[in-house]
Subunit: 223 residues, 2 copies
């Protein structure tokens, strides 16, 4: 009864609603969805009516939407597939972390529960994807670690680089060129009061300057 297949498009909507809704499950607006799906608000309204009819979202006109438990389950399955495929692309095929997002965006819609589980086993049950994002387990449990944004770190603190907020290839390539990779030790040496740019030391070696724009997109962990 609940087994009817969701389309590629429906899965993308659910994943985006999950992401915009955040951990608190706040209502997502039609315009925000239009922006994220690169469609028009009118098209979003059509889709929302359909997702509501299928019981995947809570929707009252003009009130924004939230995922139902059923919709949340679907969204998390898609996220699990996306992140597992990203691990495969980076770890097994040798792609850079800046190259895998768009491909995983397609692979995440391949059906077959058993495929996902065999892939997970093949990859050694990874807990995080190449961008530091947590991978939901087979039961659908997704626990977001509470990392700190680098802008909240004080001068003198040493932290571990754990993830990124911006997944854009240009940002990831910029980090590559700076030697800032997942697991790197970052020590904040100085923060410029004027523009909040920072001087940081990477792995006890090279010191470099990073802009506020970069700091805002780096997730780190105190040790």
């Amino acid at each position: 009864m609940t087994s009817m297949q969701n389309s590629f498009t429906e899965e993308n909507y659910l994943k985006i609603i999950h992401s915009l809704s955040g951990r608190e499950g706040v209502e997502v607006s039609t315009n925000a969805l239009a922006e994220s799906t690169s469609t028009r608000a009118a098209s979003v309204t059509d889709m929302l009516r359909k997702l509501a009819d299928k019981g995947l979202i809570h929707y009252k006109k003009y009130q924004g939407v939230r995922l139902t438990d059923s919709g949340e389950k679907v969204a998390i399955k898609v996220i699990r597939k996306h992140r597992l495929w990203e691990v495969f692309l980076v770890e097994k095929l040798g792609f850079g972390w800046d190259e895998v997002h768009d491909i995983a965006e397609e692979l995440e819609h391949i059906p077959s529960e058993i495929l996902v589980e065999k892939l997970d086993t093949f990859l050694g049950h990874p807990r995080f994807d190449p961008h530091g994002d947590p991978i939901p387990d087979a039961k659908g449990n997704l626990t977001e670690p509470d990392y700190t944004i680098l802008t909240d770190i004080q001068v003198g603190e040493k932290v571990l680089m754990m993830g990124v907020l911006d997944h854009a290839p240009s940002f990831l390539q910029h980090l590559d060129r700076s030697g800032i990779t997942l697991g790197a030790v970052i020590e904040v040496k100085e923060i410029n009061e004027y523009d909040k740019s920072a001087s940081v030391q990477i792995n006890g070696g090279q010191t470099l300057f990073i802009s506020l724009e970069v700091s805002k997109n780096l997730l780190v962990q105190r040790r």
Copy 2:
């Protein structure tokens, strides 16, 4: 100019036309395509007009269709992807050869040239898929080995099992239960004149009876 993306559906049509057209490139009928695509003839006609407009097939009304060089290139790329993904599923993820067809049917439509080439490298440039079908190379060369059907083998001959004509899970599972796998040595001990069933010895060990239906779907090579 030639770079416009083909849809999932168009790719399936091209692949099926390639397969039904055979090595000699004979015309494929509308009804044959309706059968293979599980659609109605009227739907096929619509699609044929579209494929012809895109220059992917030669089509004259009521005359059947053939692939153009351009269409052939697309079909072979899809076949390459299908077979490489099947190798991945069997060799890396541990699927049985009877379980991979439907999944590969989806994976074959994932775009990205570079993904295919990295997958090919990861798999060690396999020449054949798990069913013994040849994998086109990166340049689009597809050379069909000329295997013999087991029904053409005489009593007393020893041959190597090289492939299957029927890819149905039930047939492949039947072969598994009989111990007939790719590379197995098959010696024809006896052929029953009445129903053309045969008695064959596998790998110099067990002798078993196989029906004409099975023999007709086994591709072998004389040694």
